[in-house]
Structure formats: structure tokens, C-alpha cells
Amino acid sequence: MATNNNAKVDIIDYDAIAELPSFKALVKRKNGFLWSITAIFLIAYITLPILTSYTKILHQPMIGDITGVWIYSAGLFVMTWGLCHLYVAKANSYDKAAQAIIEEYKQGGGRV
């Protein structure tokens, strides 16, 4: 069954799609977004144990008796949910671009 599938899939000319300027632009835009956001949230995340291990900045009460670590953690939770929805919004636009690329490939007489 697996070999059968591969045979069919091979009919698509991946090189032709990979060479399309629209495809290259999409990959560049998408990877740029994904990796810069990933760098940001990883830094925000790992800063917490670094700060708590080597400084006392977050040990002070900030709101009533609630100390800074809890506020920072709450920030990480909000960040997680927020970035989830940012991703969905971005990904929907990438979906459209990907669909357009497939159309362009078909129109361009790409082998089927």
C-alpha cells in the first residue's frame, strides 16, 4: 500500500513548485515569522528560571502579597494563549497563499 502511494505522489513535480517565486516567498515569510516568534517566547520563558535562580528581582511582592514570579508566570500564560491565536491568524493567510501556489502550479501545466 505504501509503495503504491509513493508511486502516485511522485507524479507531482515538486521541483517545479519549489522553484515558483511565490512558493519561495511564502517559505521565507513563514519561516521568518515562525522562528522569530519562537526565539522570543523561548527567551521570555527561560528568563524566568534564570531570574529566579540568580536574582531576587521577582521575589518582591508586587500586587498585594502576590510576588513578581506569579505575575511573570501569569504573563507567560497570557503570552502562550495570545501567540496561539496570532499563529492561527497568520497560518490562515499562509493557507491561502499555499492554495494559490497549488493553483498556479496547476495552471502552469504542472504534470499531474
Binding site: M1, V69, W81, Y87, V112
Partner: protein, 514 residues
């Protein structure tokens, strides 16, 4: 044990067996068995991911850790949640677009050799067994406390149930057991949290104020430092949590149960909300247990604090709530181990037997048979190991599983999708280095060696001071991928173009032939 408690337990066993019976009628092909035919919707798969992920370590472990160590217990909640961003941003959609049943399928979409597939299967099986031993040993001890039955009977009971679900109902039964468990767990947690908040006059700030005087630690209870005093140890553990999730085989496998990348995406969103709300509520469980049960009473029942949540339920809601929460804990364990059996079986039966030994030449019937035999093998193996490990302190195996997943699996997943030059040698070096370095470093760590008798498995000085080696082994895994790749001249850019196009467009034959 009371009649109420027995009814809850019987209810859960009965309900999951009905699900399995219903699922068994829908399980005929290999794709049904491993991926529920790819037919789950976003919310269903999201709940199933949550059910697969929120183990007893999350529910009972974190509640206990927060109760005993305040903020230091909450570190886990943060790591387990933020990890979903790595899953969503980097792994989920390309994985769905490239894979079929297993992680190895996805990597071999680019490097189709038995060596790569075998190494990926080896790392999957290692992670599954470690994770499973920790779950089963924990389950045995827990059910012993909850029901008052012997450890070995408890392990056999859980082992028997998980085997039944997977054997007869495959991924469909496993998914629905996980969905039901996620709902029950959320219900139980919300009820307890509501009761805790009520005790604090529905004021979060009053709760924190009161917590500064409720425990023997005073103000320090609200700050890190009660449990983790070594900075590098804390950082290393946080690295394991955030990178490990995106490499856990039973979580990755859940992305093959949906029809396309868009549904995979929506299931992560569902999962992140559910898991996130749950982890917020662990604060109420922990604080509540510290305030209304007390550290002494929690430690008296179980030194690791695992009984904090059930004891809190008893203190605030009496016997009925205690019974309900215990039954939920039982369901939690069942759902997680079932998912683990299935991912272990997929590596054993699909990757090693089907694709390597039989070279992919099997009928669908044979594949399903192999999958069932593989499930029984994984189950029996883990039950035997769990029975042997009763007296060992194996709780660290969960974070070791996360560490291996982050060190051996994640680097290869990322390079396969995003790095053009990556090759077979790089893939194998990364997986083996990540796996072996994590294992060796743990073998000489304070988890295994302690000068104080009874604190670890052996008496002696540990050679490596971090209890979780992720700080070293994760970078080693990534580095070995680069070094291995550059040492070999092999490079197949044409294959990478194909992988890149598939990962980014999800293009398949259907798209172009209609």
C-alpha cells in the same frame, strides 16, 4: 472503601469498556488502528491531546508539589504549557503533512533508510518504556492508597485495562478514553478550585495574603527556592519540559489522527486552552491542600505529596468528592498509559516489523494483526518492568522521558523540516547522541547515586550533578546533527525540495487530480 467510591470506579471502567466495544466495530484497517482513520475533529483531538498529556504527574504530582514547595512546584505547570508553543509553531503542521503513523514515518519521508527508521523507533520505544514505568509504578502506589488493594494487583488492573482498550479499540478507543478523561479531570479540578476559592472569600489577592501565614515557610512559600536551590538544575529541568513535549511520541502520534494541517492546528489551540486552564487551577489545588490539609498530613499519606489533591477533595467536599477525584485520577492514568502503549506498538509493529523486517510488504490485515501483537508485547513488557520497580523511586523517569524526547527526537524533527543540507548521517548521529548522552548522564546523576542510603537507587557520589541532563544533552543532540551532517558528503536537495513543498503546502495527489 465506600459504596460511592466503588460506584465511581465501576462507572469509569464500565464507560471505557462501552467505548472500547463501540470503537472495536470501527477498527478494521491499520489506519483505523493507529490513527482512528484520521477522522477526529479539531476539538476532539484537542481534548484527546489534553487527555494524553495531563498525566497523574500533572494532576497529583503538581498539586502535591505546589502544596509542599509553593512556587517551585508551579515551575512544572509553566514548562508543560509553554511547550505547546514549540509544538504549534515548529512541529505540528509539517509533521501532519509529512507523516503517516509514526515519528519515523515523518523522518523517513526524507531519509528512507532502515537505519534511520530503526534509530527513530528505538528512541520512541525507550521513551515509551521509561514514561510507562513511571506511570505504572505511580499508578500502583496510588491505587493502593486509594482502594487499599495490593501494589501488584493495582499494576495488573491498570495494565489489563490499557491492553483491552488498545487491543480491541485501537486509536479510536484510546482517543475517546482520553476525551472522557480530559472532561472528567477538568470537571473535578474546577469543582475543587471553586471550593478552594470559596474558602478564600473568592479573592485571589486574599488567597495569596493568607498563604504567607498558612505554611511553616511564611513569605518564602510564595517564592522559588524551597525545592530547587541549584540554578542550573532548575534551568536544565525547564529546558527538558519545553523541548521535550514536541518530541514525545504519544503526543506526536495524535497529529496523525486528524485529516489535515488546519485541523492539527485547531487541535493544538483547543489543547493549549484546556491544558493552560488546568495548569492555572493547579495553583488552587496546591494552595488549597497546603492551607486546608496541611503539609504534615499530606506527607504522612505519601512523602512525594501525591495524595494532596484527593485529601483536599475530602477536606472540602467529603467522601463523595474524594471518591470522585480518586476515580478521576484512575481515569487519568488509564488514558495516558493507553496512549503510550499505542505509540510504542506503532514503533514496534509498524516501523520495526512492518517497514524494516517486512519491507512494507504486508496486507492491511497483517498490519492490524502485527499492531495487536505489538500492543500486547509493549503492555506485558512494561507491566513486568513496573512490577520489578515497585520499591525504586522512579518519578524522575518522567522528566527523563521528556529529556530524551527533547535531545534525541526534537533536533531531528527540526532539521528534517527546516535544514536543506541535513542528511542520513546527521539524523542518526543526532538521535543516537541525544539518546545515549541523556541515558549516560542520568545513570551517573543524583537520581541514581546518593551518598545517603535510601535517597537514590545506589549509594555513592554522583559523577554528574544535574538531576535532569537536558541542559547538556539537548545541545549535544542538536550539535551531533550538525557535525554528523557535515562529516558526510551525502546531500539530496531534490528530496528536500519535495519535503519542503509537502510541509508547506500539504499538497497531495487529491489536490492536483481533481
Amino acid at each position: 472503601m465506600s459504596i460511592v467510591a466503588i460506584s465511581f470506579f465501576v462507572g469509569i471502567v464500565g464507560l471505557t469498556l462501552v467505548i472500547t466495544w463501540w470503537a472495536s466495530k470501527k477498527t478494521s484497517s491499520a489506519s483505523d488502528f493507529y490513527t482512528a482513520g484520521g477522522g477526529l475533529t479539531g476539538w476532539q483531538n484537542g481534548l484527546a491531546i489534553a487527555g494524553d498529556y495531563l498525566s497523574a504527574a500533572s494532576f497529583l504530582g503538581i498539586a502535591g508539589a505546589v502544596a509542599l514547595f509553593g512556587f517551585d512546584g508551579f515551575f512544572f505547570s509553566i514548562g508543560y504549557l509553554v511547550a505547546y508553543l514549540v509544538v504549534l509553531y515548529i512541529v505540528a503542521e509539517p509533521l501532519r503533512n509529512l507523516g503517516k503513523f509514526t515519528l519515523a514515518d515523518m523522518i523517513t519521508a526524507r531519509f528512507n533508510t532502515s537505519k534511520v527508521r530503526g534509530t527513530a523507533a528505538l528512541s520512541t520505544i525507550t521513551i515509551v518504556l521509561f514514561y510507562m514505568i513511571a506511570q505504572l509504578v505511580g499508578a500502583g502506589a496510588l491505587i493502593k492508597l486509594l482502594l487499599g488493594i495490593d501494589y501488584w494487583i493495582a499494576v495488573l488492573l491498570v495494565g489489563f485495562m490499557m491492553t483491552i482498550y488498545v487491543l480491541f479499540g485501537g486509536m479510536t478507543a484510546t482517543s475517546w478514553v482520553q476525551i472522557v478523561k480530559a472532561c472528567l479531570l477538568m470537571l473535578g479540578t474546577v469543582i475543587i478550585s471553586f471550593l478552594v476559592l470559596k474558602e478564600f472569600g473568592f479573592s485571589i489577592s486574599q488567597m495569596f495574603t493568607q498563604m504567607t501565614t498558612e505554611t511553616e515557610h511564611g513569605q518564602a512559600y510564595l517564592n522559588p527556592g524551597l525545592r530547587y536551590t541549584e540554578g542550573l538544575d532548575t534551568i536544565s529541568m525547564m529546558i527538558a519540559l519545553v523541548f521535550g513535549t514536541a518530541g514525545l511520541p504519544h503526543i506526536l502520534m495524535r497529529f496523525f489522527t486528524v485529516k489535515d494541517a488546519k485541523t492539527a492546528r485547531s487541535s493544538v489551540i483547543w489543547a493549549t486552552w484546556i491544558v493552560g486552564i488546568f495548569y492555572v487551577l493547579t495553583i488552587f489545588l496546591g494552595f488549597g491542600a497546603a492551607a486546608f490539609v496541611g503539609a504534615e498530613a499530606i506527607i504522612a499519606e505519601n512523602p512525594a505529596g501525591n495524595m494532596a489533591a484527593p485529601l483536599l477533595a475530602e477536606a472540602l467536599g467529603g467522601d463523595i468528592l474524594m471518591s470522585f477525584v480518586s476515580a478521576v485520577a484512575f481515569a487519568t492514568i488509564l488514558a495516558v498509559v493507553a496512549g503510550l502503549v499505542l505509540s510504542g506498538a506503532s514503533a514496534l509493529s509498524h516501523d520495526i516489523y512492518g517497514e524494516i523486517i517486512k519491507k512494507g510488504k504486508m496486507t492491511d490485515r497483517e498490519q492490524v494483526l502485527a499492531a495487536r501483537i505489538g500492543s500486547i508485547t509493549i503492555s506485558v513488557l512494561s507491566i513486568v518492568l513496573a512490577l520489578g520497580a515497585q520499591t525504586l523511586n522512579v518519578a524522575f523517569l518522567v522528566s527523563l522521558a521528556f529529556c530524551i524526547a527533547g535531545s534525541a527526537n526534537l533536533p531531528v524533527i527540526i532539521y528534517t523540516i527546516y535544514w536543506k543540507r541535513f542528511n542520513t548521517t546527521g539524523a542518526i548521529s543526532a538521535m543516537l547522541t541525544g539518546l545515549i548522552s541523556a541515558l549516560i548522564l542520568v545513570a551517573v546523576s543524583p537520581n541514581i547515586w546518593s551518598p545517603i542510603e535510601g535517597k537514590a537507587i545506589f549509594v555513592g557520589e554522583p559523577l554528574f550533578m544535574l538531576s535532569n541532563p537536558a541542559l547538556v544533552s539537548v545541545p549535544l543532540g542538536f550539535l551531533a546533527g550538525i557535525v554528523g551532517t557535515l562529516l558526510s558528503k551525502e546531500s539530496d536537495e531534490k528530496k528536500y525540495r519535495e519535503v519542503n513543498v509537502k510541509a508547506n503546502t500539504g499538497i497531495s495527489v487529491q489536490d492536483v487530480s481533481h
